[in-house]
Amino acid sequence: MAEEGPFMNAIGWIAVVVAAIGLYAWYAAIVQRRNRVSEALSGIDVQLSQRHELIPNVLAIAKRYLAHEQQLLSDIARLRSEGSQRLGATDPKAISEKFAAENELSVGLGRLFAVAENYPELRSEKLMSEAQATYQEVETNVAAARRFYNASVTALRNACQIFPGPLLAGLAGAGQMPPFFEAPAAYRGPVNAAEHL
């Protein structure tokens, strides 16, 4: 019995050291994933600012043909201005608001290009078709940035919500979970195949 004491002590110390290393590795993983979310968020901002830069040109061309769509054009200008101010937000609530505003802007731009389809003169305008091609490229990149961001948020949430994550999340500066960047509701509805045939 007297010999079991040091042996048990050694096992106890080994268990403590292993647990400490495990907790540190988990903590490091949370920090790494939190930083990955920040990187993804800044990637979204880069793409959104490209979208914002495109809008003045589109509006300038559209104004010449879509005089009676003033409401739509001014809504887009307003949403762009609001979206630009929100770029760089890091607070989860501000990020959620930014995403909502950007989704609204995306839907507005989509509607503008749909309306433009009804105006052959506007559609045949070289600058407009170039703007539309650039817009599609930018939207592809926004979607890609959104997927990267959402994948990063999922990884961070997994690390923070699976034990011992909840114990370490606050310590690692990930107390508040960043929101997901959902695609606009208008784009998530069922597709009517007949419209595309």
Partner: protein, 393 residues
């Protein structure tokens, strides 16, 4: 039908063939009797030697006829040409003339190279034989010597003819499919190594490249064979088609899509480091089948849209090619598609076949169609992806 006339010296050549065969027969009878004195040796020498002497006479006469008789051709080429029109027909007619000259040159060259190698075969037999060896082994040595002599005579000229055939015919066939041309391949081997598209390889064989504009996009398709080791240990790492395409996109950075190498293989790959980081994608089936590495996470996802991933998977499962490997550098998409079987693509017909041989032209056209189908698949991958990515109001 052109009249056939013999060149001077044909009679002497025929006499040499018969004389040589008789001497060979007599030598064989003598060797056989020496090895097995008595009736058994005599009969073996007479019949085995007679049969081989007959073969020598037939081969020799065929050679003499092809070298000394003008207007001789083993196959009529004219009817084949009738099926081909225009520029290609003209080119094939020129190649047919070159082919005939090549055969004549090879035969002339063989007239002295084959005897030299036969003599060397005889020397090799005398040096290596031991008392009690079967004297008929000499035929093996002589046969190998004759083959080596002919191969020596034909190798360089045949290679030159095949190269010329490719240079002249492939551009014309390729032009039927678009603004395409054939050229000597220059595979981007440094990129392959830098981004570890394939497991380690030692040697690369890539001769043919079809390049130009196809379906409005700059395209280059080349055949590629990567091997490791040499001799009996040579292992083919990759054999197939590398199709490179400049996409009408604003992609940036480097993205590599490689087949999944298993838990340990993927871990080892990550340990090797490099500028590319693993990219985790949402499609579980794609994640299971492929590993993606990229220098830019957003650009990788801009390329690998859900539609692109779905079509990429369907393409991999179609069975037309092995698991595809993709390398995207900025807007340049390169896909390596392995093909089954060991046959090389774009192989011109042998110099023994007419230049306008229908089966050879059909084979080359089929190879072109195969690589362009691969290019179609690559183009469709991106077209589908960009169509799907375009926002719908």
């Amino acid at each position: 039908v052109s009249p056939r006339t013999a060149r001077p010296g044909a009679g002497l050549a025929i006499a040499c063939v018969f004389g040589g065969a008789l001497i060979f027969w007599a030598a064989l009878i003598w060797a056989s009797i020496r090895n097995k004195p008595g009736w058994e040796g005599i009969l073996t020498g007479v019949f085995a030697g007679g049969f081989l002497a007959l073969l020598i006479i037939l081969g020799g006469l065929s050679l003499v006829v092809s070298v000394f008789v003008r207007g001789y051709s083993s196959r009529p080429a004219q009817p084949e040409l009738a099926a081909v029109q225009g520029d290609l027909a003209q080119t094939l007619a020129e190649l047919e003339a070159i082919r005939k000259r090549t055969i004549a040159q090879i035969n002339l060259s063989a007239v002295w190279r084959v005897p030299i190698c036969l003599a060397l075969g005889y020397v090799a037999w005398t040096v290596t034989r031991k008392p009690g060896d079967d004297p008929t082994e000499i035929f093996g040595f002589l046969f190998l010597g004759a083959c080596a002599g002919y191969a020596w005579a034909a190798h360089r000229l045949e290679k030159a003819y095949r190269r010329l055939y490719k240079q002249r015919v492939l551009p014309k066939l390729a032009a039927q499919f678009g603004a395409l041309e054939w050229r000597l391949a220059r595979p981007p081997l440094d990129d392959f190594r830098r981004h570890r598209l394939f497991p380690e390889w030692d040697d690369c064989q890539s001769e043919d490249e079809i390049a130009g504009e196809y379906r409005g996009l700059p395209l280059s398709v080349m055949e590629l064979r990567l091997t490791k080791g040499s001799g009996d240990d040579e292992k083919t790492i990759f054999h197939g088609i590398a199709a490179a395409l400049t996409l009408p996109r604003g992609l940036r950075g480097v993205t590599v899509v490689a087949p999944d190498r298993g838990v340990f293989g993927n871990f080892a790959e990550r340990l090797r480091g490099g500028p590319c980081q693993p990219v985790r994608l949402e499609d579980p089936a794609f994640e299971k089948a492929f590993e993606v590495y990229a220098t830019d996470q957003v650009a990788a996802r801009a390329l690998l849209t859900p539609a692109f991933m779905e079509r990429f998977l369907a393409f991999a499962k179609s069975g037309r090619f092995g698991a595809p490997v993709a390398l995207v550098q900025d807007n340049r998409l390169l896909m390596a598609l392995s093909v089954g079987g060991g046959r090389n693509l774009f192989e011109p017909p042998s110099y023994l076949k007419p230049a306008a041989a229908r089966d050879a032209l059909a084979q080359l056209t089929g190879d072109l169609e195969a690589v362009l189908r691969a290019a179609d698949a690559v183009i469709e991958l991106d077209f589908a992806a960009t169509r799907a990515a375009a926002p719908t109001p």
